[in-house]
Amino acid sequence: MINKQQAFRAKNFSKNSSNSQIKNDYLENLKNQIGSIDGRVSRHLMPLAVAPLDSALSGGLALGRVHMLCGMMQAHGVVSGFATALVRRLVTHLSATGKPAGPVVWCPASSAGGAGMLYGHGLAALGLDPAGLMIVDTPHPARRMAALDDIARTDGLAAVVAEYDGMQKSSDYWMRLIRRIQLAAEASRVTVFLLGAPLAANGCETVWHIAPSNHASNTAYAPVKSAQQLWQPAWQVRLQRARGGYPFQGHIGWDLASGRFTELTAVTEAGPPASAPAESQTLFGRTPDQISAGYQNRLTQPAMRQAL
């Protein structure tokens, strides 16, 4: 807490411009105090290894906080995809600290809602282990949200992902809900991601808007020989709000092989990587014996066609 005496001294220092060293020290101290009240100083950050994004986030994604990823959940899978990539990165980050990361709790929207159900094979392809995933499957979004602070309070979880689908609630409800989840997550240091349509009012640490990337390198035709090069996920990311940071807008890709975010800057002439297997030997990357193993699954001629 800043008492009156300190404030008085600060006023005196500001008048005395000659003693700039002491003044700077004092201001630094003051910033730290305010920061600790805000919760900015003691927070743990996870760098996303994309320089402009990390600087916009002032170092990285804050762990033990509530983040909101907004987008059209029913029209495409990019919001879930970006959340999966973040969670995958978070699991790797936590595992790197020594102890194994705990399970991930995902509270998906009802599969009747149009967003589809979580598909383990696709999650595994993005690098997130479905075996470490606990799915809380309840059709009522309000009950799901009400149970969220109970989940977020649990120690030992890697991350919590919750989808609020089509909930028409007052901004007051959201402020209170997010504050409650925030307090629970701070105590247990569990990072919470909320997925859904954009909300007007919220008190989240960061607010992201995720859309499919129409970046030239993503949508342009490239004479690509391997599926790997063609189908790297990419998102149009708009960081609308970040506590202690500043907004950001850009196209972020995901490297499947290394499990890293990449920044899509310019149209690169993508050629086949040196290590890529010859197309004649693989079909969707499967070797002939893998194909014969899936005997009921007859595949046609490998085709990587260009339409339009």
Binding site: P103, H121, A124, D137, P212, G285
Partner: protein, 544 residues
């Protein structure tokens, strides 16, 4: 009025082991015997009705049995299962009388039906009911009822089936001044006569005597019970031992004999009765908390842990309600019970008041008592995380309903809908290893067919512009929005499993496509145009 007579129903199951094998799916086309190694030789201890008809029986050597019937299948005898089956049958027989017991060496059960037979229309009705129910469940049985245990045993094993000797009801006035004589002296002479008459032609083995004694008696020319009934007792005792006379007296009721009645399993239940009906919310919370504490204490003292708790309450008008709570693993922690039951008080509608509340533990299993400090010392940080995880599952299941917390399990199936299954969450901490789990993408690279991260449970029909026969779509219309396709890969053909799929199931050609906005979709064409099938297009999933 006190029952002053005894009436024992004895049921013997000669083919108990065979019936168990049939229950477990062993076909009854071959005769089977159950053997036990006695003095180095395999001897038959039990057989099935088919083997019995072929002349096989207990006591025979397996080699002899094979010689008699070459197709016989032999199994080693499983006494523990036999005993468990008998135990279950004896517990089931408590529907007829509270006194039932197991006669383990002879594969039989005792039921003391005295005073209870009128509920089933007399002894005959009771025996018919019992036989009908047991035969319906595929059991062969021999049974008899008699006033003494010994006589019932003898008749069940050696007389024609279903025989019974009716006991003579005690006609002595209850208010008689003289002391009541013991039952065996009160047994009427007429009944003794009828018992003598019925038991006399039975072989001596019916007296449950040792095999040595029986063969010694046979060597002396004594074959049936009638032979020794009239003989002077002293020489018999001198020559063949007291055991013979004791068994004889037991059969005729001159010496009291009883079986050890089975104690029924005690339900794990605690209850609270109120002097006045309670309806206040605080009282209900207090009742739940009291019951949870008592239940935890009861479980601790009996060394058990419950997987399911039933909280019940009875209203003033007699209406009974209950609520079940499922646990992810057996537990007896009061703190856990409190937490799971915390939200329940709001759901109880006391109406005009609750008279009684109870809590019953179901699916109990033994749990060794663990010293709390030791447990803490033994656990590492990981296992405390596991504890938290398991209790989180419990809390969520209690809050959101049974089946609301699931895991994804891969299935060895190419059909996308069937390739993953949701299983109820277990308490085990999942092992973080993609490779071992059997998912289609074992590594981060795309050495696997593409699979979406969200799969539509029911594929959406879409309007597609595509070249035949197997070109990817050029554009598709979904939810009145046109998606122009700029990139596509495929097709990946997934045929329905012909051995299970219903007739008319078509092969699907899956395409991964990207529209001009950059969103990726998983589409498929149902039906192959080159086979003359009408092709319809569907949207099945979304890629990241």
């Amino acid at each position: 009025m006190a029952v002053t007579y005894r009436h024992i129903l004895y049921i013997c199951f000669p083919y108990l082991a065979a019936a168990r094998m049939h229950r477990h799916g062993v076909a009854s086309v071959h005769p089977m015997v159950f053997v036990e190694s006695v003095k180095g030789a395999d001897r038959v201890v039990a057989c099935c009705p088919l083997a019995r008809r072929r002349g096989l029986g207990a006591g025979m050597r397996l080699a002899d049995a094979r010689a008699l019937c070459p197709t016989v299948h032999s199994y080693s005898t499983d006494l523990a299962s036999d005993h468990a089956d008998l135990h279950k049958l004896a517990l089931w027989a408590r529907r007829y009388s509270p006194l039932t017991g197991v006669d383990e060496p002879a594969n039989g059960i005792w039921i003391d039906v005295a005073g209870a037979e009128h509920l089933f229309g007399g002894v005959r009705g009771l025996m018919a009911d019992c036989a009908r129910r047991l035969r319906q469940s595929g059991l062969h049985l021999r049974f008899a009822a008699a006033p003494t245990c010994g006589a019932a045993w003898a008749l069940a094993h050696y007389a024609r089936p279903g025989i019974h000797i009716l006991p003579q009801h005690d006609a002595m006035p209850a208010a008689a001044a003289q002391p009541v004589a013991p039952p065996h002296t009160r047994m009427r002479a007429r009944m003794r006569a009828s018992m003598r008459q019925i038991l006399a032609p039975l072989p001596l083995a019916a007296l449950r005597i040792e095999t040595d004694t029986e063969s010694a008696l046979q060597r002396a020319g004594l074959q049936v019970i009638g032979d020794i009934m009239a003989m002077p007792r002293a020489p018999l005792a001198t020559r063949f031992g007291n055991d013979l006379l004791r068994r004889l007296d037991q059969a005729f009721g001159d010496v009291q004999e009883s079986f050890c009645p089975l104690a029924p399993p005690q339900p794990m239940i605690v209850s609270r009765n109120f002097a006045e009906p309670v309806a206040a919310a605080s009282d209900i919370v207090a009742m739940i908390s009291y019951l949870a504490d008592e239940m935890a204490r009861l479980l601790y003292h009996t060394g058990m842990a419950a997987r399911r708790l039933e909280l019940g309450w009875q209203l003033v008008d007699g209406g009974r309600h209950c609520h079940h709570i499922h646990l992810s693993r057996p537990s007896r922690q009061a703190a856990l019970f409190h937490r799971l039951l915390a939200g329940l008080s709001d759901r109880i509608n006391p109406e005009f008041g609750i008279e009684t509340g109870w809590m019953q533990a179901h699916d109990c299993s033994p749990l060794a008592p663990v010293d709390q400090p030791l447990q803490h010392m033994a656990t590492s940080a990981d296992s405390t995380a596991g504890e938290n995880y398991a209790s989180l599952i419990d809390r969520l299941v209690a809050r959101l309903g049974y089946g609301s917390v699931v895991h994804l399990k891969p299935q060895a199936n190419w059909q996308p809908e069937a390739a993953q299954q949701t299983m109820l969450a277990e308490l085990t901490m999942p092992a973080a290893s993609v490779a071992a789990a059997g998912w289609l993408a074992p590594t981060l690279s795309t050495t696997a067919p593409p699979r979406p991260i969200r799969l539509l449970a029911h594929p959406h029909p879409i309007d597609v512009v595509a070249l035949l026969p197997d070109h990817p779509p050029a554009q598709f219309i979904w939810q009145r929005r046109t998606h122009k396709i700029i990139k596509a890969s495929g097709p990946e053909r997934i045929a329905p499993p012909w051995w299970t799929a219903p007739a008319g199931s078509k092969s699907r050609d899956y395409f991964r496509v990207q529209d001009h906005h950059g969103a990726c979709f998983w589409l498929y064409r149902d039906g192959l145009p080159e086979r003359g099938e009408t092709a319809a297009w569907f949207l099945h999933g979304f890629f990241a």
